[in-house]
Amino acid sequence: MNVFGFKISPSSAIDMDKVDRARFEELCRVEPDAVRCMACGSCSATCPASAFSGMSIRKVLLMLQRGKEKDAFRMMRNCMLCGKCTMVCPRGINTRHLILSICRIYDDKEGKQ
C-alpha cells in the first residue's frame, strides 16, 4: 500500500480488509452496548488503571473494532473491574460486563503465564 509522507515513524494506517472482525461481531452480539459507546471519554478520565497501563474502555473498543487486539489486551491487563466507568457512563453502558465478555470472547495467547 502506498503511504503518503515520510517514513520516520511506522505507519498507523490499518487495512480493514485484513482485519478479522469475527470476534468483534460476536462481542456485539453478546454485548449490544459495545456499539452504543459515543467515545465521550468519561471512562478514560475516571479509570484508576489508566495510570498504569493507559487503560480506557473507550480505546479498547476502538482497538478491537480495528483489529488491534494486542494493544487492547495490554491495556486491559490492568483493569481492576472497580466499576467507576460504569458509574460515569452517560450512555448507561454496563462496562464491567462488557470487559468480562471481552475477557471471555477474545483470547490473549501472549499474556498467559
Partner: protein, 620 residues
C-alpha cells in the same frame, strides 16, 4: 399391650420399608460424599468440632431451634412459624413417642423398624396403658398438632399473605408430589388408627373417630386398606424426598454442625455448597426479601430458584441468576436455614473460564505517588495530640466519584488534629472487592497484596475507609498486622466518644440507610445511628438494619443495566422516606450517588453532615 400377630409383620409395611431404605441409603451416601468433598482442613475442623462440647451444645441447640421449632420463622411471622414447627416438631414427637411405646410395651420388636410406625395395627390394648391416658393421649395430641399445621399449609397455598408472605415459590412437579403425599400421610394415619382404635386403644382423637366410623361402617375389613394407604403415602413421600425440596429435612441436620464448625463455601458445586443447595427448603422467604423483586421478571432469579437450577445442572440459568444478583446479602440474612445466597453466587462466578486474565505485576508501588504517605497534622487540638496515632485514609474508587465525602472526611480529620495521610488522593489501586465479587479471586488477591504492601510500608496505626465495599474486603481478606481497620462511621463515633469531636443537635430529622456491605456485610448498625442521634432527630425506615433494602446501585450485579435498576432505587427510597425525614443519610459513596439520582430530598454521607454541622457552628 398384647400382640395380635405372631410375626409382627404384614405386607402393607413394604411401601414404607422400601421408601425408608431408599431414603436412608441416599442420605448416608450423600453425607459421606459431601464430607469427602470438603477440603482437607475443613474436614479436620468438622471432625474436631464433633468432640468439642461447646460446639456440640450449639449443634444440639440449633437442631432443636432450627429444624424442629423453626424459631427464625416464628420471629418472622407467628402463623408461618406455627405451621412449620407444628408439622416438624409434631412429627418428631410422634416418632419419638412411637419408639418409646414399642420399647415399653413390646421390647422384643425393637429391631423391626416398621413396628413403631404401625404400632396400633399390631397390638391390642390391655390395662398397661392406663386406659391410654398418657402415651396415647400424647400421640393424639401431636397428631392433632400436625393436622392443624397441614390445614394452615393448605390455606397458605391460596392465601400466603396471611402468613406474611407476598410471594411464594412456584412448586416444581416433584415438590408437588412430595407436598401432596406429605399432606395425605397424617389424615391417613388418623383414619387408620381410627379404624383400629377399638382394638388397639386410642385417645380423644382416634377413639372418637372410631365411634363415628363404627356408627356407619361396621366392617372390620376397612382397616387394612387404610393402613395400606398410610404406608403408601409414607413410601411415596420418602421415595420423592431426595428429588424434591423436602431433601432439606435430612440435609439441614448435616448443615448445622458443618456451619458451626466454621466451614465456608469453597467450591461452587461440591461439599458445603452442595449441602447448602440441598438444605434449601424452597420456602420462598428470600423472594419477598430480594430487592430485585420490584421487577416481576426478576423473581425467578432469587436464591430459591438458583438452588433449584443448581440441582438440575441448568448451566445457562445458573449463570444468568448468579450474574444478575446485586449481592446485597438480604436473602442470606432472612434465610431460616442459613443458605448463603451471595456467597453461593460468587462461587458460581468463580468457576467461569476467561481467556484474558488481568495481571498487576507491572504496577510498581514505589513509583509516582502510590506509596508516598506523609502524615500531616494541622490543628493544635491537645486531646488528639496526646493520642499519637497515625491514620492512613483510603477513600476508595467510589469515593473518588463523590469527592464531597473524602473532602468532608479530611476536613474532620484536620479539625480534630489527627495525623493522617490521604493514601489514594491521586488515584490508587482498587481494594479488590469488585473483582472478588466477579469471582476472579486470583486477580483480587494480587490487588490485595499490592495494597497491603503500601499500607504496611506507611507505618500507620489505623486504616480509615470511606467505602463499605472496601471495608468488607479489608476486614475479611487483608492481613494487616497491628493496623486497626475502621470505617469512617466507626471512627467518627470513636472521636465523639473520646470528646475530640463534639456534636450539636439541630432540628432536622434524619433517616439512616444501612449500606449492604456495612450492615449485613460487616455488622455495623449502631455506630452511625449513635452519631446521627447526636446531630438531630433520627427516624427509622420501615425496613432497616439487617433487612435494609439495597439501593440498587450495587457493583455485585454484573448484568443488570443502568436502566433496570431504577425501580429498585425508587422502591428503596420509598422504604426510607416512610417517616418523612428531611435528609437521607448513608455511609456508602455508591448508595449516596445512586439515591441522589432519584431522591426528592437531599442524600448525604454521614461524614458530610458531621462536617457541615461543625462548619456551621464554627462560622456562627
Amino acid at each position: 399391650m398384647r400382640e395380635i400377630y405372631l410375626s409382627g409383620y404384614n405386607n402393607f409395611v413394604l411401601p414404607f420399608m422400601l421408601g425408608m431404605l431408599f431414603v436412608l441409603t441416599w442420605c448416608i451416601v450423600g453425607a459421606v460424599r459431601i464430607i469427602l468433598q470438603l477440603p482437607h482442613q475443613d474436614r479436620k475442623a468438622f471432625f474436631l468440632s464433633l468432640v468439642n462440647p461447646k460446639i456440640m451444645a450449639r449443634n444440639i441447640r440449633d437442631w432443636f431451634c432450627d429444624c424442629l421449632f423453626h424459631v427464625k420463622l416464628w420471629k418472622r411471622n407467628k402463623m408461618l412459624g406455627y405451621m412449620h414447627s407444628s408439622i416438624a416438631f409434631g412429627w418428631f414427637m410422634i416418632i419419638v413417642i412411637g419408639h418409646i411405646e414399642v420399647f415399653l410395651y413390646t421390647p422384643e420388636r425393637v429391631h423391626q423398624i416398621w413396628y413403631p410406625i404401625f404400632f396400633r395395627y399390631f397390638v391390642a390394648v390391655t390395662d398397661s396403658t392406663m386406659k391410654g391416658s398418657f402415651f396415647f393421649f400424647l400421640m393424639d395430641f401431636f397428631l392433632l398438632m400436625i393436622l392443624s399445621g397441614i390445614i394452615l399449609a393448605i390455606i397458605k397455598r391460596v392465601r400466603s399473605r396471611m402468613f406474611g408472605m407476598r410471594r411464594t415459590t412456584r412448586a416444581s412437579i416433584t415438590d408437588l408430589i412430595g407436598l401432596y403425599s406429605l399432606w395425605s400421610i397424617f389424615p391417613l394415619r388418623l383414619l387408620a388408627e381410627g379404624f383400629t382404635a377399638d382394638i388397639s386403644g386410642g385417645s380423644f382423637l382416634t377413639k372418637s373417630l372410631n365411634w363415628v366410623l363404627h356408627s356407619f361402617l361396621s366392617d372390620q375389613m376397612n382397616m387394612l386398606p387404610t393402613w395400606w394407604a398410610y404406608s403408601i403415602a409414607l413410601g411415596v413421600f420418602m421415595c420423592i424426598l431426595p428429588f424434591s425440596r423436602y431433601m432439606h429435612i435430612p440435609a439441614e441436620i448435616l448443615l448445622i454442625p458443618l456451619r458451626n464448625a466454621g466451614i465456608h463455601v469453597s467450591h461452587a458445586r461440591k461439599g458445603f455448597a452442595k449441602l447448602q443447595v440441598y438444605s434449601c427448603p424452597g420456602c420462598g422467604v428470600c423472594i419477598d426479601a430480594c430487592p430485585m423483586g420490584t421487577v416481576k421478571s426478576n423473581i425467578k432469579d432469587t436464591t430459591v430458584y438458583l438452588n433449584r437450577q443448581i440441582k438440575r445442572y441448568n448451566e445457562k440459568r445458573i449463570e444468568e441468576i448468579s450474574d444478575k444478583c446485586l449481592l446485597c446479602g438480604k436473602c442470606t440474612a432472612v434465610c431460616p436455614v442459613g443458605v448463603e445466597g451471595d456467597k453461593m453466587r460468587i462461587a458460581q462466578r468463580s468457576i467461569r473460564k476467561y481467556n484474558i486474565s488481568p495481571d498487576y505485576s507491572n504496577i510498581d508501588i514505589n513509583q509516582g505517588n502510590l506509596s508516598k504517605n506523609i502524615f500531616v497534622s494541622t490543628s493544635n487540638n491537645v486531646v488528639s495530640k496526646n493520642k499519637n496515632e497515625r491514620v492512613i485514609y483510603f477513600a476508595g474508587c467510589m469515593t473518588a466519584l463523590t469527592p464531597s465525602i473524602s473532602k468532608s472526611m479530611t476536613q474532620i480529620l484536620e479539625k480534630c488534629g489527627i495525623d493522617y495521610s490521604f493514601m489514594d488522593k491521586d488515584g490508587g489501586i482498587c481494594c479488590g472487592r469488585p473483582m472478588w465479587m466477579a469471582g476472579r479471586f486470583d486477580q483480587a488477591k494480587q490487588m490485595i497484596e499490592k495494597n497491603t504492601e503500601i499500607i504496611t510500608k506507611s507505618g500507620a496505626d489505623i486504616l480509615l475507609l470511606s467505602c463499605p465495599i472496601c471495608y468488607k474486603i479489608f476486614k475479611e481478606r487483608y492481613r494487616l498486622e497491628g493496623i486497626e481497620i475502621l470505617h469512617h462511621t466507626e471512627y467518627i463515633e470513636r472521636l465523639v466518644k473520646e470528646g475530640i469531636l463534639t456534636l450539636e443537635k439541630s432540628g432536622s430529622s434524619y433517616v439512616f440507610h444501612d449500606p449492604c456491605e456495612l450492615g449485613r456485610g460487616c455488622g455495623i448498625y449502631d455506630q452511625p445511628r449513635k452519631v446521627i442521634s447526636g446531630l438531630g432527630n433520627l427516624v427509622e425506615a420501615s425496613q432497616n438494619g439487617k433487612e435494609s433494602i439495597c439501593c440498587g446501585g450495587s457493583l455485585g450485579s454484573l448484568t443488570l443495566g443502568f436502566d433496570k435498576r431504577k425501580t429498585m432505587t425508587e422502591n428503596a427510597l420509598h422504604n426510607l422516606t416512610i417517616a418523612d425525614p428531611d435528609v437521607i443519610v448513608t455511609a456508602c459513596p455508591l448508595c449516596r450517588s445512586t439515591f441522589n439520582r432519584y431522591s426528592d430530598r437531599p442524600v448525604k454521607d454521614i461524614a458530610e453532615i458531621v462536617e457541615e454541622q461543625y462548619r456551621k457552628r464554627v462560622n456562627i
